[in-house]
């Protein structure tokens, strides 16, 4: 039997510069299937840029991203999503003019019907399958009481939870999370950690960016530390925690 870990996401020698600024240099990353891989680092380290490259929002200046044997680089966002790669953004991206329930139903349709389908015959009301699924999801993130509210009227923390629900309902194979608990209360943060732990047992691969070390150490199987656009350390949480370079980069970055 093959005992080697199954790598689902390869980030291969990626560079990205904005004008003269090297936002990412020489990034190599391997993410193992079913594991949670945390990326930490000071502000401006290039963490969000890395996710943007993976998800196809910005093209890398060099290098490529491969997901499960498919090259993502150059694909359109919706194609990448349809492959099962889904992202939670740093500033929540939701549908502010739709109800909370519709926000969660919409991605379920993308999963069921694909990238384009003119579904006219059956009224939304009769899509009971998708509706129930969405209600279930809302229950999981604790927003079910607010299902008829316009999503734009939610608090920032609630918007985050909503976006998480929108991503989770698609049962992604790879979930990218950009600071999923920023702006949440301690209580909501803990609920979110519990939720993310629960889906961990369902075998979903996750890449998570987080500043909150409590969140990182309760979820991560592996940690990469990014500073100045480079990976300066990588390893198990216990290894990274003690690494002097990490403490320097972090403390230097946070308190500079």
């Amino acid at each position: 039997m093959d005992q080697r870990p199954n790598i689902v996401l390869h980030v291969d020698d990626v560079f990205k510069s904005f004008g003269g600024l090297h936002a990412l240099s020489d990034i190599d990353l391997q993410v193992e299937e079913g594991k949670t891989h945390a990326i930490i680092g000071p502000n401006g380290a290039g963490k969000s840029t890395l996710l943007n490259v993976i998800i196809g929002r910005i093209p890398p200046s060099r290098g490529a991203v491969v997901f499960d044997g498919t090259i993502l680089t150059g694909k359109k966002p919706h194609e990448i999503n349809q492959l099962g790669v889904v992202r939670v953004f740093q500033t929540p991206e939701i549908f502010p003019d739709l109800s909370v329930l519709q926000n969660v139903m919409t991605p379920a349709f993308a999963k069921r019907d694909g990238a384009f389908r003119v579904a006219l015959a059956r009224p939304l009301e009769r899509e009971t399958g998708i509706r129930d699924e969405a209600l279930h999801m809302l229950e999981d993130v604790g927003l079910v009481d607010r299902r008829e509210v316009h999503a734009g009227a939610l608090s920032r923390g609630d918007k985050r939870r909503l976006e998480l629900a929108m991503c989770l309902i698609q049962k992604p194979r790879l979930l990218l999370l950009d600071e999923p608990t920023a702006g949440m209360s301690r209580h909501d943060t803990n609920t979110t950690i519990e939720l993310l732990k629960k889906i961990k047992s369902r075998g979903m691969t996750k890449v998570i960016i987080e500043h909150d070390m409590h969140v990182v150490f309760s979820l991560a199987d592996k940690i990469s530390v990014l500073a100045g656009g480079r990976i300066i350390a990588e390893g198990l949480p216990s290894e990274v925690r003690g690494d002097p370079r990490v403490q320097e980069a972090y403390l230097g970055g946070e308190h500079a």
């Binding site: 998800i55 359109k76 966002p77 919706h78 999503n81 349809q82 889904v86 992202r87 953004f89 991206e93 939701i94 549908f95 502010p96 003019d97 739709l98 109800s99 519709q102 139903m105 919409t106 991605p107 349709f109 993308a110 999963k111 019907d113 694909g114 990238a115 384009f116 389908r117 003119v118 579904a119 006219l120 015959a121 059956r122 009224p123 939304l124 009301e125 009769r126 899509e127 008829e148 316009h150 999503a151 734009g152 009227a153 920032r156 929108m166 698609q170």
Partner: protein
């Protein structure tokens, strides 16, 4: 069957709407507007606006060129009368098909851009159609003289069925029944009802929700796995087909097609109707269309003599002054009035008449528990 099902609330709306439309000859009498020519206009432009709203109201793409499809519909219908038959069924079907093809082509190109660039592209295309109709395409459009019926037209289908050419011009008919006056109105009314039903289906369907989601956050839409462009294109083509159908009906009620139907003012008018009534609501565009066509009917008919009579209670000198000013706003100048009304609505009632109705209902304390179709409560910036 799902396809004929509407949620209860919408079914009630549909029934009320049907009653209002079919009873037009009754309730318009006190307004002095219950004659077929005007009622046909009401119905046809309501149809145009309802279709336009499927694009603008749901996806937020503001097209400034939909009159082009109206024109295509009219020309197609008249050609169908000339070449095939005076029966309106083929004329309307062909009008819808052809305007659908046109809107597919124009939409395909225009939707490569969004926002103001999209609007300008559609405007440019429509003006191109308008100019072509007056120049290169005169063999098809008959230029400034307008495309008209002639006694000598081929009408191959009619000929094959042994319809003899009469002394006078034939008029459009449905299964042999001539569609003059009220019959013409009722045909248009039934077509409007069917089209309204389809629009309700669109609004209630998953497809409609996708279109609203595109308007709400196109970025999220793509990262959610939707290819947004074909969605917008589908909405564009559907609304283009509505415009073509409206154009076809215009030709049915008066078998004549001129290029002025495609002018940018005509495209602008449907935008006004939609905004005036209430963007993104089902009934709003209908009310907007009726109001504008009614006001047009009144204001454009005014002349100086009538103004003098209206203001005859004023002293002579003052009367001349008032009439001089007022005359700028009537007759040919009625668009000035329209512009003013439009400005007032946009400034004081951005949600249009439907928003006004909602506010009035709220003021009377009849908060309905239903989810409002209008804007959500404003959220303070973070």
């Amino acid at each position: 069957m799902d396809i004929l099902v509407l949620p209860r609330k919408d079914l009630i709306v549909f029934i009320c709407f049907a009653v209002v439309v079919l009873a037009m000859p009754i309730w318009l009498t006190p307004f002095g507007a219950a004659y077929p020519g005007l009622m046909q206009k009401f119905v046809i432009f309501a149809l145009f606006a309802v279709g336009y709203n499927i694009l603008f109201g749901l996806t937020g793409y503001l097209s400034f060129g939909h009159a082009a499809f109206l024109g295509v519909g009219s020309y197609t219908a008249v050609w169908s009368f000339k070449l095939l038959t005076m029966d309106v069924l083929p004329a309307l079907v062909l009008a819808v098909v052809l305007s659908g093809i046109f809107s597919l082509a124009i939409g395909y190109v225009s939707l490569r851009r969004s926002g103001i660039y999209f609007s300008i592209l559609t405007l440019a295309f429509a003006q191109m159609c308008y100019n072509l109709a007056y120049s290169v395409l005169t063999p098809i459009t008959n230029g400034e003289t307008s495309l008209q019926l002639s006694r000598l037209d081929a009408r191959v289908v009619d000929a094959a069925f042994g319809v003899v050419r009469g002394e006078r011009l034939p008029s459009p008919s449905l299964f042999g029944v001539e569609l003059g006056g009220h019959a013409g109105f009722y045909l248009c009314a039934v077509v409007l009802l069917v089209a309204f039903f389809v629009a309700q289906k669109v609004f209630n369907s998953p497809f409609g929700m996708m279109l609203k989601a595109i308007k709400s956050n196109q970025t999220r839409m793509s990262y959610t796995g939707f290819n947004t462009r074909p969605y917008a294109l589908a909405a564009f083509v559907i609304s283009g087909m509505y415009a073509g159908l409206a154009g076809g009906l215009l030709a049915v009620t008066d078998p004549l097609a001129g290029a002025e139907r495609m002018q940018w003012t005509a495209s602008g008018e449907v935008v006004l109707m939609t905004i005036l009534g209430g963007v993104g609501t089902l009934i709003g565009p209908v009310i907007g269309a009726w109001l504008i066509k009614y006001l047009e009917n009144i204001f454009s008919a005014f002349n100086d003599a009538m103004l003098h009579r209206t203001f005859s209670f004023l002293p002579d000198g003052l009367q001349d002054g008032v009439v001089a000013v007022a005359s700028k706003f009537v007759g040919e100048g009625w668009h000035l009035t329209l512009g003013l009304v439009f400005m007032l609505v946009v400034i004081f009632l951005p949600g249009g008449i439907m928003e006004g109705a909602r506010r009035i209902r709220m003021a009377f304390g009849q908060r309905s528990g239903s989810a409002p179709q209008t804007k959500p409560d404003p959220v303070p910036a973070e």
